[in-house]
């Protein structure tokens, strides 16, 4: 497994029902990545504002990690995990 850092702001379609955020799709370089599974979610409380982290599998089978910053509600794409 190889982790490739991305670290860029992305547009995300998310479901906020039930008091939790669930990413449904995000756009990167003009391409839509549909989330087919949220693998894990965790909360990082360091600092005044929490960050909500997600590991997601997209339709292509790639596994991405992204987070929603509590301070400014910006979504950032952190990394993609590649086989090999």
């Amino acid at each position: 497994m190889r982790l490739e850092r991305i670290d860029e702001a992305v547009a995300v379609r998310a479901d906020f029902r039930g008091g939790t955020a669930t990413p449904l799709a995000f756009w990167r370089r003009g391409r839509e990545h549909r989330v087919v599974r949220v693998n894990a979610r965790w909360l990082d409380r360091v600092g005044q504002h929490p960050c909500f982290y997600f590991s997601v599998t997209v339709a292509s089978g790639d596994v991405f990690e992204l987070h929603l910053r509590g301070a400014d509600l910006v979504w950032r794409l952190d990394s993609v995990s590649l086989e090999g």
Partner: protein, 402 residues
């Protein structure tokens, strides 16, 4: 003595389980987390004889198909905090460590129900919240609770009643007794003592003569008695911050930068716990596997970065004399005093107070915006060499333990 109820919660294959959770392609595969040696490995990897502490070269030989990951310390911390928060919902006192927690359930029956049922509910909640499994052991004291859990790993739940303690312990190997480390086990085995039951034959005087204070504890513990309480706020024996370099280095500015960064992290932890170290140690590991360590006491105990760093740099200069690259560097604070106001020598008392106040102000800023928001002195040399996030520099093998 009052009968207590302690619940021990142990997160199964902690780091490796989180990696398998984050990437479902790893599920069912042998996964190792570690750099240099195994910090954690999945149960699939353990079937090949792999275990924590084993060198990665040996692990690769035993299990060539294992997936090796360097790990993500901050992610593990977040999961642990979530699990310990759940533990606090069922227990008034929780003592948490890296991947385990002791919960004092004494007297909580009326509030949370029978301990076995409360533990079952806790396991379910943790699994629903995090996707991770934990093993729970319940006993009349910490030692028995932990040992109960050991019999049903992973994802198990077991209880030992006080009256079952002696029979439960009798046939267990001597190494499983809390307080029997590698050296003590060797001594006991050389006396042909292999089980905890056999240890009971030794009189307390002999155990004290062999192991000092620990001997008295072993005398009690082999009979199932453990008086250690679940302590909500753990005062550590030492605070250690250690990491290997991404690439082995002999560059003094890089090594000193790393040492300054580690000193800052360790001192901040000490200040948060309101403890002041007297002893500072520096540990080096060279490329060829040789290591060196030296400790010295501060003139006056201090938890401010420059005071600790000054001594750490002096130790580094004495230790780092070989013409070889360094693989890892570490800093250890120990010999703590509690609630000690920062003092200096007679003539710079006021200066010491100002310095302590300054670092408390830094702590405030870092609590609000993350440790990485302030980088000091030599640690600036690490910029560009290491990845950074709001927690600070992303270390290759960060210390998660205190």
């Amino acid at each position: 003595m009052r009968e207590g109820t302690v619940l021990h919660v142990d997160i199964d294959a902690f780091f490796a389980a989180i990696e398998q959770l984050r990437d479902p392609r790893l599920a069912g595969r042998p996964v190792i987390v570690g750099a240099g040696c195994i910090a954690s490995c999945s149960y699939e990897a353990r079937r090949f004889g792999l275990r924590a502490g084993m060198a990665l070269s040996e692990a690769r030989r035993l299990c060539p198909e294992a997936v090796i990951l360097e790990g993500h310390a901050q992610v593990y911390r977040c999961f642990a905090e979530q699990i310990f928060a759940r533990c606090r919902e069922v227990a008034p006192a929780v003592e948490s460590h890296l991947d385990e927690a002791y919960c004092d359930l004494t007297g909580t029956d009326r509030l949370h129900g029978e301990p076995l049922e409360a533990a079952r509910r806790l396991k379910r909640r943790i699994r629903d919240d995090t996707g991770l499994t934990v093993t729970c052991g319940i006993g009349p004291n910490r030692m028995l609770a932990k040992l109960a859990g050991k019999t049903v790993k992973p994802d198990g739940l077991a209880r030992i009643a006080a009256e079952e303690a002696e029979s439960f312990l009798t046939e267990r190997p001597i190494e499983q007794l809390s307080g029997v480390g590698h050296a003590h086990a060797k001594t006991l085995r050389s006396m042909n003592l292999k089980t905890i039951g056999q240890l009971r034959a030794l009189p307390i005087e002999l155990l004290e003569a062999l192991f000092g204070v620990v001997g008295r504890l072993l005398y009690e513990r082999c009979r199932g008695r453990d008086t250690a309480v679940v302590s909500e706020r753990e005062i550590p024996l030492s605070i250690s911050r250690e990491t290997s370099f991404r690439r082995d280095t002999a560059d003094r500015t890089e090594v000193e930068g790393m040492l300054e960064y580690l000193a800052g992290r360790a001192c901040r932890t000490a200040r948060e716990l309101d403890i002041t170290p007297r002893t500072v140690a520096v540990r080096l590991r060279y490329t060829d596997g040789e290591s060196a360590e030296q400790a010295r006491s501060l003139r006056v105990p201090s938890a401010t970065d420059p005071v600790v760093l000054e001594l750490a740099l002096e130790l580094l200069r004495r230790l780092f004399r070989r013409r070889a690259s360094l693989h890892a560097v570490g800093l250890i604070l120990s010999n703590f005093s509690s609630h000690l106001a920062e003092q200096g020598a007679l003539l710079d008392e006021a200066e010491a107070g100002r310095r302590a106040a300054l670092y408390r102000a830094f702590d405030g800023v870092r609590s609000a915006y993350g440790h990485g928001v302030l980088v000091s002195g030599r640690a600036l040399h690490l910029k560009g060499k290491l990845d950074q996030d709001r927690h600070g520099f992303v270390l290759r093998t960060p210390s998660l333990t205190k």
